[in-house]
């Protein structure tokens, strides 16, 4: 905001026109970037969970919607695969990535004691990311999805837009951290690698898309590459950010320092080595040497190691403040997230065993695990950071309300039940497939499981709406209050 320097506001007479204030069209206030990403994340959370409900409904009803657009023989199509793809993209790139960006731009200045570099650029990145994603989701309903898994199904132009926005965020965060990375808190280390992982994967997908535009690859290599990225983005970006958020929020929510810095570093090291290798497990095909897939399977199983370390470290951090976990604040959400993180990592390890993969691979079991991982572990970590950060970035006095409690518990109950129902359905489906049961009989056999999952995931969607309403009420009606300003002094940062 700038004031016309030719007019001295103190010398205005009653009949003078006040000087015009020119507002910059791009916000540049220190926490405006975190606010923007948090708001976008809350909207995407509602949208993604709504798409999840629709995706389960389509699995039950098996109906398609198609109508021509009257342009280049294109048609709008809504079928099971397209809605599944849109749901995964809205969840990963919409809800969880916006929450991840918000967490990074919120934590970095507070943990390094430096002012965030390039805030207007971050707000532009926010606009690019979310508009591109909206365009990408629209494209998913029109264009051929090819041999792609959901996270690589958008046209390369859209993925390139996402990569560009991620590049801006990465540049800003790295410029802010600068030379203080070595001494920074472990959350910054997790966030840096996670962000670089996301940028690398998106850049790779866009590059492969452009090359494929000129030299058409065969379906199989493209499908294998897509499967690798589908596994690598959650393992590197989302899991890394979940660790970063949890190591940041838990000590602050319970008011204790982290129990062991050494254990946190060991967690980081184990994750850093195992997460990229775990994506190799997705390359299961006779054309890939078997030992490569085995490396991926072993790494997936060993990811239980950093998860166990994080559970021990964060649980030890809570010591003596167990009552905080029963309340509706960020501590409860963070702790439930830790539990889901351990459970979903364990299940992913079991899933990577060859016999288990043969039995439940491609069944509803995978969808149940997806819901536990994305909406249990990662979503509850993101809810915790949102509930911790939003009052501070908006400078509002806030104590947990009925809505924030509703958001947490609805998501917890919905995710638990939906995940268990789908995993149960997947085991039943695996049994039917092993017996050579006809497809219509399999559909009838797992209908009950899907119906339970449909109802339970509806609770998650309600929880998302409660979170959105909570954020809105916080913005509109909470009392303004001052928090410590990041970058003001190291002492202020330490207590923030």
């Amino acid at each position: 905001m700038t004031v016309n320097p030719k007019v001295n506001p103190k010398k205005l007479r009653p009949y003078d026109t006040p000087p015009k204030r020119r507002r910059s069209p791009i916000p540049g206030a220190p926490d405006s970037a975190a606010n923007g990403f948090l708001a976008a994340a809350a909207v995407w959370f509602s949208l993604a969970s709504g798409l999840g409900v629709l995706a389960i409904l389509l699995r039950i009803g098996h109906f398609n919607i198609t109508f021509p657009l009257g342009l280049f023989e294109l048609a709008f199509q809504l079928d099971e695969r397209r809605v599944d793809t849109a749901f995964v993209n809205a969840t990963v790139y919409g809800w969880l990535t916006n929450a991840g960006f918000a967490a990074i731009v919120f934590m970095t200045p507070r943990l390094t004691g430096r002012r965030l570099v390039g805030v207007p650029g971050l707000n532009i990145a926010n606009a690019i990311w979310n508009l591109t994603l909206l365009g990408g989701l629209a494209a998913l309903t029109v264009f051929d999805l090819g041999p792609n898994q959901p996270l690589t199904a958008m046209p390369w132009l859209m993925t390139g837009g996402l990569a560009f926005a991620a590049l801006i965020v990465t540049g800003s965060v790295l410029a802010t951290i600068g030379s203080s990375l070595r001494t920074a808190y472990v959350s910054v280390w997790f966030a840096c690698i996670a962000l670089l992982g996301l940028l690398g994967m998106l850049g790779l997908v866009a590059t492969v898309g452009i090359v494929d535009w000129f030299i058409h690859f065969d379906e199989l290599p493209l499908a294998l590459f897509s499967a690798f990225v589908e596994r690598a983005i959650p393992a590197l970006w989302l899991l890394g950010m979940a660790y970063a958020m949890l190591h940041y929020v838990v000590p602050r929510a319970v008011g204790h320092p982290l129990a062991s810095g050494g254990l946190a570093i060991l967690t980081w090291l184990a994750w850093l080595v195992l997460a990229p290798a775990s994506a190799l497990a997705a390359l299961a095909d006779p054309s890939i040497p078997f030992f490569v897939v085995t490396i991926g399977a072993v790494a997936t199983m060993l990811l239980l190691l950093p998860a166990s370390f994080a559970v021990v470290n964060l649980t030890s951090t809570v010591r003596g403040r167990w009552s905080v976990l029963l309340g509706p604040g960020p501590a409860a959400a963070a702790f439930v997230s830790v539990v889901f993180l351990l459970a979903s990592t364990l299940l992913a390890g079991i899933r990577s065993l060859e016999d288990v993969a043969t039995f439940v691979g491609g069944t509803e079991w995978d969808n149940g695990l997806f819901i536990w991982t994305m909406y249990g572990a990662f979503t509850l970590a993101a809810l915790a950071i949102a509930q911790h950060a939003f009052p501070r970035t908006l400078k509002r006095a806030w104590s947990p309300t009925l809505l924030s409690a509703a958001a947490m518990w609805l998501v917890f109950v919905g995710v638990t039940v939906a995940g268990v129902a789908l995993m149960g359905g997947g085991i039943a489906e695996g049994s039917f497939l092993a017996q050579g049961t006809a497809p219509e009989d399999i559909d009838a056999g797992i209908l009950g499981y899907q119906a339970v999952a449909f109802g339970a995931f509806g609770l998650v969607a309600l929880g998302a709406l409660a979170h959105l309403a909570d954020m809105f009420l916080l913005f509109t009606s909470a009392r303004p209050v001052e928090y410590a300003i990041p970058g003001a002094s190291a002492a202020a940062v330490a207590s923030h």
Binding site: L145, A223, S226, S260, F290, T294, V298, L305, E354, G362
Partner: protein
Amino acid sequence: MRLPAWAVGLTVFALLVGGVYFASNLAGESPPFAIPGASGPAPGPSGGADPAVGEALISQATPPCTSCHGPDLAGSGNFPSLHGVAEGPKSENLQDLAAANPDTWIHLWIDGTTPETEGIDRGGMPMFGEQFTPEQIDSIVAYLETLP
């Protein structure tokens, strides 16, 4: 910053266990990758049927095929061997059926409930069409066709 000894020990132990698992799973072959949006694996001699499913169904049949045709389906007493059925029937009573239905005679014979097999002496062979769906019988045929 001190690394907890128990955590370092656990890491070393987990890496050892992972190494043993890796070493014992070096050889093998992954199943064909299921390409999203593709119409499924290339159909075999019996369409999209799965021989592995057929092998499982053979022991689940009532009575199991092995109870009459022998434990390795190589024949037993009056019951013929099922090896080599892909090249044509060995029993006299099935020659006409195979001549009239060269691609589907095995399926029709196992099913036994269709008009094509009416009047043929089954020699004690159950009508498995009453137990299995056509897709399951396809899988059984696919398995039998793999027997040398």
